[in-house]
């Protein structure tokens, strides 16, 4: 059919060729409208790529002359733009026209402007510098009274807009949200969506307006707002749970056909809207029973209504199934969803079959029986002619791999691997094979040594150098660390050695470099296991490889290391000698060094043997880090008058001080971030201690102990995290067992029945398939379900990795941790926090204070702090309203549900507050609760960090076990656990606290920190509660106390600045009141006030300084921020504007 098109096109080249000679601005105007047509026809007439290029180059040079000629009218320009777009689409560079596209958008009439904007959107990208020139045009058009112009401006903004210019158009676009035309409102919402994607903090303050858009009377506007909500909920679902009801209602209306008929698509009501809502509900209901319960009805209805046999209903069904399996499970719905999946899988339409497999892959871990139901279809798909179907099937099988079916599944994967050529697929698949082959898990499913090594050989040969570097590393570690059984391990290693030697015997085969590296390591370590092959033989093979030109120099380094290991074992060493001769003159310096090392080591065989012990790759080496064996040498040298050694930093300092002596004009001190902390901590300047009137000593102690924690945490994180993960994983997996096994028994019965009926009529081919099925799905039967979940020992688990490895590792870290403590010679301080916990516990009962005394205490501590309003500010204004509206600090109000918990909370708060009275802190706010526990949190603004304290009070009369608090890793925050965070037991009616140190990784306005707590009740039933806490930039800002002189120096050294004029009310116009606001609410340190100008300084923890210069003119406040960090001034300015407007 397209041949016809082709013919049509070729028939018309004559037209164009006539026009071609007419170039330049003087070209005939009348022919302009068909110039594109001419170009298209001309191109089609050509036969070779070369001719096309020539033609287009000529066209482009004509265009270049035309667009830059002053006589070119805008109308002609519009025509030129269209042709330029066409040339760019064909892959030619038309960048000379970009600026003219912008001009056209700026100057043209409506039609020309439209083409100008289109060209801009197609030519430029977000960070193109020319885009800045468009901003003015956009601003002008946004203010236009012509609807079409406004629409065009909004359309371009929603596609590309420079991020830094958002403030210029934001107010205009916000206004458009109230526009009377729905199309304008809709586009404005989408423009804000774009802003949310590229600069989320810029649109934070208009979240409330998004809610308005969600309630818009126009369906289009409402649907557009869902894009924003989907994003925001994906980032932080806990903040929007209150909207669940609204989404459910909207979906009900849509499903019920309440929308205008316009929105129907093939008589299905607004499918896009339905799908978007389903996806949002899936996110909201995830792991949240209460929220999920709200949506069960509407999901049920959606499943029921979508019965029409059309693609679009299948799209909705698929999304429904996805949502049902994402949210808190409900068995009825799951049953219906499973039926739906069946419809997909069994459909003759290939697209639906694909999605069926995709859905199965998604749900298979929750419900392995589904795989059993569809096993025959899966087998068929495994040999499907379409590779995409095949691949999705493998993905599915990968999820159900277990000890019994691993050989078949891995074989299928390897088959696919051998056929595929695309690198991305190879890397992906090789990773999966390696994954099921143990490398990432504790147990392996591999049935025997030979199979394991051979499969790995295949993986290494095919995956070669593109695979993930972890794969060879993990494989080698596995070999070295071994499993429980030592003789097994030796056999495995021996087999590996033998297999590699055989592989190396084959002539003219090239193995990937990574594979050669693996071989050389294994041969170097484990060749001693061979009885007959003397090391000489292995050495010969290694030597051959070393002399091979196709081997990379990195691999050669591995090879020579292997040779070095084998040398002490060899009796005669002709080869080694030859090798040394060869490489001591090598041009590769690295190889030369290795050769020389080997040469010298060989001279002292005893030393060499002790240096390269056999089979000790897993033993830890004891290294004398203090180099004490050199003491004698040093003493001798010193006595002979050598200069004593000075560490690098000392020399540096001396050099610097010398420079100072020589210089008449002193240089400014270098104010690197480390310079700051260095200068600050010894002075013991801490806001808390200063203000509360404590002695400087406590301040010093604070800084010391806090610094120490920072170091400890680093170790703690590595040491403890993996353990915890394993535990939670087990718990969640263990739950669904009983239910599943029942279903599975049924299924098994039906399947066996079916089998019996079919036996007679089975053809040979079918028999094969059955056989394959039984081998693939063998692990999924009822008796082995537990096995699937990784618990049973019924099958031959050949390898079980030693658990000892992990233990020793954590041992190492803890000892390292001790070393660091003593190194800082203040271990007494290190236990400071622990003691304080103990105190809290012991004193708890004594301190069951009633709320009145606490209140007074609170007041006391407040009066001690300089800035009492900070905590209120951050609680009331910056925290997300949905979370805190009701619970704000009301732990102290009598309206709290249970009396004991009130008492507990207050006692806890009081004891903690006592300890932290020298620091400022926020109020205790409840973040989540259920019938058993109630969890509250508050912030302590320490001088060098933000300390988040979560306190869990057990309201029940039962003991809670393995309480565990986990904070989800957040993009902007670095979170480190304080000591004593994992609690094995929470006694009945008691309170425990968790403390986390939070640092801001990079500046931003505010964000949520989410996490969950889980614990076990007496009946081993595990419960998990989610919570989230809002953190603001201000939580991380501390005053920076510097002198005016230093301020001046710093000011000049900072490159990033932001200026802004802020209008303030009359009352604030006075310098002093503005100053007070800044000082109190932003925690800025007032450096000096000169006339109507003020200098202030602060730092973002840990030590990013930011300076503020401001001047008052009447009711305008000129703010000028500077910092070493590029984004910090912007954010501070934003906060500053907020407090100025707010007060």
């Amino acid at each position: 059919m397209s041949d016809i098109v082709e013919k049509t096109l070729t028939a018309l080249p004559g037209l164009f060729l006539q026009n071609q000679s007419v170039g330049g601005p003087a070209g005939v105007k009348a022919s302009f409208s068909s110039r594109l047509g001419g170009l298209v026809r001309g191109i089609t007439a050509l036969t070779s790529k070369h001719e096309e290029e020539k033609l287009i180059q000529q066209e482009l040079s004509n265009l270049k002359a035309t667009v830059s000629a002053p006589t070119t009218t805008l109308k002609m320009m519009k025509e030129c733009m269209v042709r330029l777009i066409y040339c760019e689409m064909l892959g030619y560079d038309a960048s000379f026209g970009y600026i003219h596209a912008i001009k056209l958008a700026q100057q043209g009439n409506l039609l020309e402007k439209r083409v100008g904007y289109l060209a801009v959107s197609l030519f430029l990208h977000e960070s193109h510098e020319l885009l800045l020139l468009l901003v003015n045009t956009v601003v002008k058009d946004l203010q236009s009274t012509n609807l079409v112009e406004v629409c065009m401006a909004l359309t371009i903004v929603s596609q590309i807009f420079p991020r830094e210019m958002i403030p210029a158009v934001l107010p205009l676009i916000e206004d458009k949200l109230q526009h009377s035309k729905e199309i304008i409102r809709r586009k404005a919402v989408l423009a804000l969506y774009k802003f949310h994607l590229i600069a989320p903090n810029q649109v934070q303050h208009i979240h409330i307006k998004f809610r308005k858009a969600l309630c818009d009377r126009d369906v289009g506007v409402m649907a557009a707002s869902l894009h924003i909500y989907f994003r925001m909920i994906k980032e932080n679902s806990s903040g929007y749970k209150d909207l669940t009801g609204s989404f459910v209602t909207i979906l009900k209306q849509v499903v019920g056909g309440k929308l205008p008929v316009d929105f129907n698509y093939h008589s299905v009501p607004a499918p896009w809207l339905q799908i978007q809502l389903l996806r949002i509900l899936g996110l909201l209901g995830k792991d949240d029973q209460r929220t999920s319960e709200l949506m069960y009805d509407v999901l049920d209805e959606s499943l029921r209504r979508a019965e029409l046999n059309h693609n679009v209903t299948y799209a909705i069904l698929f999304e429904c199934v996805h949502t049902v399996y994402s949210i808190y499970p409900k068995s009825e719905l799951l049953e219906k969803a499973a039926k739906c999946i069946g419809k997909f899988v069994l459909s003759p339409k290939i697209n639906l079959k694909y999605l069926g497999l995709k859905a199965l892959t998604y749900v298979i871990q929750q419900d392995p029986t589904l795989a059993l139901q569809h096993q025959m279809t899966i087998i068929e798909c495994l040999d499907h002619p379409d590779p995409i179907i095949k691949r999705e099937t493998l993905e599915l099988l990968y999820r159900i791999t277990n000890a019994q079916n691993i050989t078949v599944i891995v074989q299928k994967m390897l088959e696919y691997l051998h056929q595929s050529k695309e690198e991305y697929i190879i890397v992906n698949l090789v990773g999966k094979i390696a994954d099921v082959l143990v490398l990432n898990t504790v147990d392996t499913y591999a049935p025997d040594n030979a199979w394991f090594i051979q499969t790995m050989n295949a993986v290494f040969s095919v995956g070669g150098d593109v695979m993930h570097p972890d794969i060879p590393n993990n494989f080698l570690r596995l070999l070295a660390e071994g499993f429980d059984d030592e003789t097994e391990d030796q056999q495995l290693r021996l087999y590996a050695v033998q297999s590699y030697l055989t592989l190396l015997d084959v002539e003219n085969v090239f193995y990937p470099q990574k594979f050669l590296q693996v071989m050389s390591w294994v041969l170097g370590e484990y060749s001693y296991l061979l009885d007959k092959d003397t090391p000489e033989e292995v050495l010969t093979k290694l030597y051959k490889l070393l002399m091979n030109d196709s081997v990379s120099s990195e691999t050669k380094a591995w090879l020579i290391a292997a040779v070095t290991k084998l040398t002490p074992q060899a009796h005669s060493s002709n080869i080694v000698e030859r090798l040394i001769q060869e490489f001591t003159i090598s041009l590769d310096t690295c190889m030369r060094q290795h050769a020389f090392e080997l040469k010298h080591l060989r001279e002292n065989l005893e030393l060499m043997k002790s240096l390269l012990p056999v089979d000790k790759s897993c033993e830890d080496m004891v290294v004398d880090a203090s180099l004490s064996f050199l003491d004698g040498f040093v003493a001798e040298e010193l006595s002979q008058g050598a200069a004593p050694y000075k560490p690098h930093h000392q020399r540096q300092e001396e050099k610097l001080s010398q420079e100072k002596v020589l210089n008449f004009e002193p240089y400014g001190l270098s104010f690197s971030s480390s310079g700051f902390t260095g200068r600050q901590s010894p002075a013991g300047i801490s806001l808390g201690s200063d203000l509360s009137g404590n002695s400087a000593e406590t301040g010093l102690k604070e800084t010391n102990s806090l610094k120490l924690e920072g170091i400890k945490k680093l170790w703690g994180k590595e040491g403890y995290l993996p353990k915890k993960e394993g535990k939670t994983g087990d718990e969640t997996e263990a739950l669904p067992v009983p239910q599943e096994s029942i279903i599975m028994e049924n299924v098994d019965q039906t399947i066996t029945k079916k089998d019996q009926c079919q036996v007679l009529t089975q053809s040979k081919e079918e028999k094969e398939k059955q056989l394959l099925a039984s081998s693939l799905f063998v692990g999924l039967g009822s008796e082995s379900t537990i096995n699937l979940l990784g618990k049973a020992d019924t099958v031959s688990h050949k390898f079980r990795r030693k658990s000892k490895v992990k233990e020793t590792k954590s041992g190492e870290t803890s000892s390292a941790h001790n070393i660091t403590c003593s190194y800082f010679s203040s271990s007494s301080n290190a236990t400071y926090e622990d003691d304080y916990y103990l105190d809290t516990l012991q004193d708890r009962e004594d301190k069951e204070l009633n709320k009145f005394s606490l209140n007074s205490e609170l007041l006391d501590s407040e009066s001690l702090t300089e800035l009492p309003s900070v905590e209120k500010l951050s609680n009331c204004k910056l925290s997300s309203p949905s979370l805190f509206t009701d619970n704000n600090m009301e732990g102290f109000h009598p309206s709290q549900p249970t009396a004991p918990s009130v008492a507990n909370e207050t006692s806890l708060a009081s004891s903690l507050l006592e300890e932290t009275s020298e620091h400022m802190h926020s109020d205790l706010v409840e973040v989540c609760h259920n019938e058993t526990i109630s969890m509250s949190s508050y912030k302590i603004w320490k001088d060098d960090c933000l300390l988040m304290v979560w306190s869990v009070s057990n309201k029940s009369g039962l003991e809670l076990k393995s309480a565990n608090l986990e904070i989800a890793p957040a993009e902007y925050f670095k979170i480190t656990e304080q000591p004593g965070c994992c609690l094995p037991v929470i006694e009945a009616e008691s309170i425990k606290t968790f403390q986390y140190n939070v640092q801001m990784e990079k500046p931003f306005t505010d964000g949520n920190l989410t996490g969950f707590i889980n614990y076990q009740m007496m009946d081993t039933h595990s419960v998990q509660l989610e919570f989230s806490v809002n953190l603001s930039l201000l939580d991380f800002i501390r005053p920076l106390k510097i002198s005016t002189e230093n301020f001046g120096k710093l000011w000049l050294s900072f490159a990033n600045d932001v200026k802004q004029n802020v209008k303030v009310s009359e009352s604030q116009a006075a310098l002093s009141s503005a100053l007070k606001t800044l000082q109190q609410k932003l925690r800025l340190h007032v450096v000096e006030i000169i006339g109507n100008e003020g200098l202030l300084a602060c730092q973002l923890l840990p030590s990013i300084p930011c300076l503020l210069h401001f001047r008052v003119h009447g009711d305008v406040l000129a703010l000028w921020f500077r910092s070493s960090c590029s984004s910090l001034p912007d954010y501070l300015l934003y906060q500053c504007q907020k407090v100025m407007e707010g007060s």
Partner: protein
């Protein structure tokens, strides 16, 4: 959606819209690879492709391939319907659209696309509303779509 490409059975690009910022070099590479892969597929094969970490959803209408790239968690079937709705819109606007309409009036095809999808998300699903917006902007436009040679409707022959 990450991007949308329209290309002919000969592998000639007819329309491209990128919703993610990529360099020209990358765009060219992606286009070349995808056109090759899609054209190599047989008619009975599935309309979805896994390509790098993206899903490609494509559909052929007469001699023209419509091809969209979405993320893995997006819904493939509804993307197919997005393509179909776009064809419907083109069809309604041009009146039984054919490849030639798109070649010679590709800027109109872009305008329609921008009213339907904005920034990679569905902007307006009501056919009436999309066309109303286009007509509003077209009001001042002189002349209509010119008819060229033999027309082969895209919509009448979906593959």
């Amino acid at each position: 959606m990450q991007f949308m490409l329209l290309f002919s059975r000969q592998g000639k690009l007819r329309l491209q819209k990128w919703y993610v910022p990529l360099s020209d070099k990358e765009k060219k590479k992606i286009t070349r690879e995808l056109v090759q892969t899609v054209l190599a597929r047989k008619p009975k094969m599935c309309s979805f492709l896994e390509w790098r970490d993206l899903k490609i959803v494509y559909k052929r209408y007469a001699s023209l391939y419509f091809c969209c790239a979405i993320e893995d968690q997006d819904n493939e079937l509804i993307t197919l319907e997005i393509i179909h709705r776009y064809v419907e819109l083109l069809d309604k606007y041009f009146g039984s659209v054919c490849e030639l309409d798109i070649i010679f009036n590709f800027e109109k095809a872009y305008f329609i696309l921008d009213e339907f999808l904005l920034g990679g998300e569905v902007q307006e699903t009501s056919k009436k509303n999309v066309l109303k917006a286009i007509e509003q902007a077209d009001l001042l436009q002189e002349g209509g779509a010119e008819a060229e040679g033999e027309r082969e409707s895209l919509k009448q022959t979906p593959y």
